[in-house]
Symmetry: D3
Subunit: 135 residues, 6 copies
């Protein structure tokens, strides 16, 4: 279910088509996932979101592409975004995520959540040595 | 501020001392951060939490130690755990996190949060190809 | 899917009928959305929830009805409540939300989430001038 | 630090004084915690919030007072509300929470968070038998 | 929809079968819910998750089984885990949760969320008496 | 406390100075809040974050500046970002937020959180009429 219905034939809009073409070329795939169809009603939102996703996630950088997808997935899980968990699990697999790696990140993410709730639960005070302002 | 006050001389408890000694040896450091002092009032909670943290985070595995800390940090940020953000940023630095890497993961984490809110905001339907049950 | 199945013919209960009639009259519509059917198993929960929603959201106040719905929607997105995002997007549209406004609030909400994660990620200290207790 | 500074002598306002007196009488204590001082700038917010807290938490009901405080604490931890974790840990202790119970609820809360992240992480489909609409 | 497809005949794996048998015996039921099928691709994740869930939730402890399920449910609601809300509502019902109790915990959980947002919204400072480190 | 210590004399970096000057000019104020000092270690992060905040929040648009700040604040409260709640409450006040409006948005935000938890708690199914894909 969705709160928004994308327009038919949305690629007839040249600004939308330009972004979709760049997505296809960047990903070397004809497939455009729903995220882009659903935000295409506002060309500005579409163009800027894609520009940022492309720059941060698809351009070469210090971190390798799979590590970046794993981080994206970790945040999406913690923020309970079903769409994003699905799309970034698929993206991570496309970049080589193995079952063994998948299992390991689930162990780390769920352990982090567990200790997050312990620390928040007891309101554990931050150690002075962790405070960079006093270093 | 804390909702709990650790006992004085808590290492006089041999079960607590055994865990603290293992933390020091595993980390090759004399420093024990507050997390462990504050959960030491229940030896079972202390022993099992450390056992899991050690196994998942400190033992050799498929992912390298820095990647694991970055994932832990990503979840802690999304879950708004101030203690955990501080302790795992320190841990990531101890494992070699550079300023450039730190900046890059902040860019990825904050972009993920942004698109999480876009996808949840428009309730974008999950693409059929992402559904593994139908694959 | 639901964890609860509303009773059949729940409006035969006069307390439920009284609330449903007030919802219809207040909204000038025959439609009762699922929220009210699903909490009607406890008349007290139904009556008090509706009384608060009516008073805060439907009664004239300083803020205009559309602004109030946009705020409600912003919180529902951040809290990842799929039902509430759907129902309050519909309510906002009924109160005049245009596509251009919809797009703008998505841009604000997702930017806020992005900087929330930056500020939590770096644990940026609160500026003294923001502290009203010291003003 | 606070974003709001309560007025001096706020109990000179008779509506505020009436609520504060009722808090003192209900709790059989002279102490008024900051929550009530900080929302007293709007008498309506103060009166209605206290009315609901009193009715749900302080009036006799099916659940015993300590169980109710533990549930309140669990939600406050998951929602990362530092103020609420502090105030409801204190309230739970005042109602008899022992260290052993405190430790046990921390174990349950943190385990729940762990499996929440596993289930959200793998997007585990809901079993048909859990769907009450089909029962 | 799921991001993972469990293997067919997964119980042919003896480590998986051993866990599933223990789940059936512990719960005195033939039914294995999806959680366990979906994490069975990694025997270690399956065994350790079940061991912890069994120890914390199924073994006799200070808190009674229904109170423990209610706490688990409260966290799952706040963390917006649809799967967990469904499975732990079912578990709570199996342990005797009545409609009246269900309604009461919903009132407590939703009130807690309300005051969590008030306290976070005004950044109410924590009362000195709540700070155990200074006690 | 912070996990990062901004460099001394950071405005000696011309890219940082250019952004800080634009912040001062846009806001017509000499004050630069900590957010910008703490992300200035990465000029790209600083420049792009400010560009987006300026474009979305400071440029004329359909929504008025105060409404935009209220939406930003609502998300920051729900995401439990203490820094952002402080900075955007101050920003909202600078744009004219009155005590009466402040109180009203707190009532809306906290009510939304309450019904978010009711809807998530009972997993209320989304009404068919809310599904735009079927419209």
């Amino acid at each position: 279910m969705s709160t928004f219905k994308p327009a038919e034939n949305i690629e007839e809009n040249p600004r939308v088509k330009a972004v979709f073409d760049d997505i296809r070329e960047t990903r070397n795939s004809d497939f455009i996932n729903n995220m882009w169809y659903y935000i295409a009603f506002d060309e500005d939102l579409l163009e800027r979101t894609w520009e940022e996703v492309k720059r941060v996630m698809a351009m070469p950088s210090i971190l390798d592409p799979l590590t970046k997808e794993m981080l994206y997935l970790a945040v999406s899980i913690a923020n309970s975004c079903a769409y994003c968990v699905h799309s970034h699990t698929a993206a991570a697999r496309a970049k080589g995520l193995t079952d063994a790696q998948h299992s390991e990140i689930i162990k780390i993410i769920s352990l982090a959540a567990k200790t997050n709730h312990i620390a928040n639960g007891l309101q554990i005070p931050i150690d002075d040595v962790f405070d960079m302002d006093n270093s």
